[in-house]
Symmetry: C2
Subunit: 211 residues, 2 copies
Amino acid sequence: MATTKTTKTKGETTRSALMEAALRQVARGRSFEAMSLRKLTGSVGIVPTAFYRHFESMEALGLALVDDSLRTLRRIMRQAREGDLPQEQIIRASVQTYAEYVRANPLHFNFVLRERYGGVAALRHAISTGIQLFVSELATDLGRFPILNTWNATDLRMIAALIVGAVMETTELLLEAPENDTERFNEIVRTSEKQLRLVMLATPQWRSGKG
Amino acid sequence: MATTKTTKTKGETTRSALMEAALRQVARGRSFEAMSLRKLTGSVGIVPTAFYRHFESMEALGLALVDDSLRTLRRIMRQAREGDLPQEQIIRASVQTYAEYVRANPLHFNFVLRERYGGVAALRHAISTGIQLFVSELATDLGRFPILNTWNATDLRMIAALIVGAVMETTELLLEAPENDTERFNEIVRTSEKQLRLVMLATPQWRSGKG
DNA sequence: ACGAAAAGTCAACACCAGTACACAAACCAT
DNA sequence: ATGGTTTGTGTACTGGTGTTGACTTTTCGT
């Protein structure tokens, strides 16, 4: 009866169908905590009890989603790191590719953004530590910059956290912008670029207040 | 039977008891969307149906909470605006009083932070527009600074958004820090100060890329 | 092609959800 | 003190929830 809904590409396993359905629900506004196992399975076209063939619990599903989403995030960092560009263009290029990633994987970014402060403790913590790790990596990356390679670890983390906060806001803007409005997209990208340029502009004359 | 739980100061009306109980639930980890009317009323010591004597719906309760919480936020801005300080100390003082506010009203700040990306659309939007307004006010405030009074509106909003993003992160850190750990508190405040100093440090040599 | 393992089905369960309605108590201005 | 308004109670109903166990179908390596 209630089948299809998404274009089944034959080999598409039910497990990943469940995951995508969950992501889609979160994108539609429902928080993961308030999501119903029955409706979820219903939207995939299986009976509620079949859920347990793929996940031990709802929380396990959530953790799998966190894994997936953070993996996407990490892929970006790697790409940004490997394609080492001239200092001048690095901000522009990084912001551009990041924004394109967000547009390409809205469900994943949406999920981490929403559930970072969501109701399920396990997910919150998983995402939180994931982002902390993200900040640390960014800090060490920044440490390789010509101007920043004399900074101490504390200040590097400080600036990394500042950047991550700005990027979070940018992400939210990108996600809530209409899909086809490329002008809006560019506007957001430009603003984000400016923010990062501003931050980097300050670094030459920075002197840490305390050891 | 199931009475008290909170120290009833006699005149405490049930309506506000419901509101505080809801805030407390959110602080305990449950998202507002996943909160049960029955449990909520139960924790206040009234029967479920009595809820409707005070609120037309759960969503109405949520909106009332948004109102309250944003009011708290606005109070801070006013205080920061009125007590005009010498430029040197203004960052230190603002961060300090903000952090103290967060510590004093953790439930309100927690609620805004959690439900900003939460599942109930009405709350999300109310909070979102509230924060947008917050950013705008901050932008015009910044425009009064000696260095910034030549900036155009777009760039002012850009920097305001950057600051708000950083403050959000700071708020989260303050909320999840243990209550009595004053050393941690000071550390967070110091980092936040640094971030704002860094941002302001960049402003003198800023030149906007585009009109 | 066979047979075990994986995936899905069915019926049933005990429970918790929101809410309608009629009634009782508490409050408070007159 | 009275009587209307507000607030809280009790019962009851409908429908959704997660999870169980035993059963059937499908899948897939050999």
